[in-house]
Symmetry: C2
Subunit: 204 residues, 2 copies
DNA sequence: TGATTTAACTTAACGGCGTTAAGTAATTTT
DNA sequence: AAAATTACTTAACGCCGTTAAGTTAAATCA
């Protein structure tokens, strides 16, 4: 069945071509400036061809983001190779999260900022379960557990603590990405300040 | 010049009619589901009439949001009437901010979540200066100053502290508004946790 | 080998959008 | 009475995501 295989590979190739073209356009121009028609033009196929490989625009964008966020999950765990200090692991993970968002603002936007109405209403079944975002969040939870077990942050509801930390990280990340009109103090100081403040707030 | 006045009043009336219709649609359906055409249909004028009273959709939406956020600035200062404890004022202001966002999710979205590309690129000159959002932020800064002067949070860069707090508040608000797919712990506990953690983190 | 099915892709179209240009009808001014 | 202004509309432009109905070439089957 060599022929069928070759066929399927060719199909995969075009799928990948679409994926890559969309990914590049998207990262470069942002969600608002990418249309199915532009993606099609870039790969020199008709717009409808895309629908043979991806259900719709939302699905395509989310798959692109999932790929990117798989890298976040990896990045966040890398810190464990550098230190065993649970507090340093937590701190490093938070920093990695924020910097990852700043490095991939358009991906961060689609997954964590945009989806107020955009995706929910029109029957798009995005489950945080099964998503790379969830895996990344679980890494955060693990870091929190590590800190609690080591006694470096005070005991309490792990979920509550993790979500509190996530809220802080997300707030800073999304503000820095989206609100260039605001006169923020130096980015690095702000990141430091948020991480430091929150972790200190969790110690006793 | 009674005639001209009457004319101008009539014009103001239609302007207000548009404003109110848009406001209601917007608060009810969210930004993604409001179009100029729908607003026009609601007031029973042609879509182009709106452009005689508002420059474009973005401007209209922002004016609606400004009106709403004027109320936030008021709400945030109300706490001062209830207590003189600077820490309570800060805490209360933070709580008011978050709850205001949850009460007006669509307005919060336009001003503080959406504008990644939406408004910046196409020559929309939104200055945070002159905005109600800025006034509300200044109230936060005042509360921080009050706490530092009373010695209840440790001395430091006021802007840095205020922006750190804002980031945390914004993060929680925007996550609670936009991410219904995530299994958050009880909302009230989460709000309490964030406020408590951040303020504790600022004390020494 | 010739007929038929299937796969891969395109053209045309639908119904939406924000916005602008040109037109109309009524009112006001001269 | 004529000219100018005001308040509005109709028609259109160029986008958008998406679907239905072809089309063409290759693969399968008789």
């Amino acid at each position: 069945m060599g022929i069928k295989e070759r066929r399927e590979k060719a199909k995969d190739n075009l799928r990948q071509e679409i994926f890559d073209a969309a990914s590049e356009l998207f990262a470069k121009e942002g969600i608002a400036n990418v249309s199915m028609r532009k993606i099609a033009e870039k790969i020199e196929y008709s717009p409808t061809t895309i629908y043979l490989y991806f259900k719709d625009k939302t699905t395509l964008l989310h798959q692109i983001c999932e790929e990117t966020f798989a890298k976040l999950a990896i990045e966040v765990t890398k810190i464990r190779e550098e230190t065993n200090d649970p507090l340093e692991i937590l701190r490093g993970g938070m920093k990695a999260y924020i910097e990852f968002g700043l490095k991939h603002p358009n991906h961060y936007e689609v997954v964590f900022i945009a989806p107020l109405d955009s995706y929910i209403d029109e029957g798009f079944e995005y489950s945080f379960d099964n998503s790379m975002g969830k895996i990344a969040f679980e890494k955060l939870v693990e870091s929190v557990v590590g800190c609690v077990e080591a006694g470096v942050i005070k005991n309490g509801d792990i979920e509550l603590i993790s979500q509190t930390l996530w809220a802080g990280m997300h707030g800073l990340t999304s503000l820095l990405i989206g609100h260039t009109e605001f006169p923020f103090v130096e980015k690095e100081r702000l990141i430091e300040s948020l991480i430091k403040t929150m972790i200190k707030g969790l110690q006793d």
